[in-house]
């Protein structure tokens, strides 16, 4: 399994989850977990996804999601999950 963390940060609007999920569905990427919260008036969403079945390269995925974010006035980042696991687990 290639676990990737997608983070969405910005002003809350209608359709953030719908549009992001639609993109992931078309790219054959399975969503494992979604959580969201508001920090300092900013909407924060985190998706844990499995990228093992997609045919898109990591770079392309990152670029397309970033573009989708820009269209919605949000910042969307894609990162391999190890950076978070290593940093926060002994």
């Amino acid at each position: 399994m290639k676990k990737v963390i997608i983070t969405v940060v910005g002003k809350d609007i209608v359709g953030i989850i719908a549009k992001t999920s639609m993109y992931l569905y078309k790219a054959n990427i399975n969503i494992l977990d979604i959580s969201q919260t508001v920090v300092q008036d900013y909407f924060n969403m985190m998706m844990i996804v499995d990228c093992s079945k997609t045919r898109k390269s990591f770079d392309r995925l990152g670029a397309e999601l970033a573009k989708l974010g820009t269209e919605m006035g949000l910042r969307i980042r894609c990162q391999k999950s190890e950076i978070f696991e290593k940093m926060h687990r002994v």
Binding site: T7, N44, E82, I83
Partner: protein, 455 residues
Amino acid sequence: MINIYEVIETNKMILEENLDVRTITMGVSLLDCADSSVAKTCDCIYEKLMRLAKDLVKTGDDIGREFGVPVVNKRISITPAAIVGSACCRRPADFVRIAKTLDRAAKRLGVNFIGGYSAVVSKGMTPADELLIRSIPEAMAATERVCSSVNVGSTKTGIDMDAVRLMGEIVKKTAELTRDRDSIGCAKLVVLCNAPDDNPFMAGAFHGVSEGDAVVNVGVSGPGVVNHVLANSCRGVGFEELCETIKRTAFKITRVGQLVAQEAAKRLGVPFGIIDLSLAPTPAVGDSVADILREIGLEHPGAPGTTAALALLNDQVKKGGVMASSYVGGLSGAFIPVSEDQGMIDAVNAGALTIEKLEAMTCVCSVGLDMIAVPGATSAAAISGIIADEAAIGMVNQKTTAVRVIPVAGKKVGDTVEFGGLLGHAPVMKVSKFSCEKMIARKGRIPAPIHSFKN
């Protein structure tokens, strides 16, 4: 399972607090390039570097993109050039040819610095060592990306004062030959005591003879992260909580370095060497070790209490870092360069920080007098005296110390020097006007200290 608050914390460190991996440095042994012909030696060096490091920059950038953490510098360190060139170099100009070869390879590979134009002369100089040292001014003037270092002493051997005397003259000459660029040659030249074989940070990086054929070493950074954590949760708290917080933060920063190092080693097909868990500042606002010292409770670095605050910081960084990585090495600690840290520059401009106080600080931090601009009129003997003082601190305290001072040609106290980029800018600092000439004129070496005899 990772939770959203941990993800937010990590990304805040990266996006707002300047967390980055400062350098992936590939160490390459060039011992097998030694030949009796300068041309053949240079050809072999170029070929080996191009072969082993061809994917270094791309790998660093790929890893940075995939994990979402900037890998700022990709660099190379080599076997001390004095050893590589000892069979073929008959005059300083021969060594300069090697320097130019290294510069050409660095430019072609896209690495911003290549370190190891070095000589390790802690007990004495071979003829090749001396030739290399004498070639440094011209090599630094004729190249852009080559870094040079000379190790003049160690706890085990004492201090080679002949090399110290010579280095005073070499630093001055290097400044003179690059006077049209604010003596920038000296920013690429460092004089060390107890130099580690596996340091990934410039200008002192070289690939020691105790190392294998190739290795990947990683230097982490993150003074901004420590500063933010202290500002947000440690104002007015006791030392126990302060230290615990720095330690936890150092752990997190180092874990990122460990991940990047293992990944880089795997992709490059080269063994992982060490993580250097240093707090390395940059001229960027908020990326400052001085700011941490202020956050601990000093008005400016240089105030009474600075040495204690720095000792505390350095120790907690090590304690947090060692837990996070399987192999720790290099310099590992807090760096206190002046020109590369806006908070240090402010402290000098405010009159709070002097060279003498910086010297005291080097007793408890990881390196030494770093990136300090001094008047162009400073004598070679005075520079040798500064080098001898630092080497003595390193020798007696069994730690690495270094001197990277820039006697800026044509500049005096109060002037400012602009180096640009990561090297930053610096106010020219005052050096004691009293002479040490008669001491520096003495020949020979200072013996090793009594506590070095462990056998």
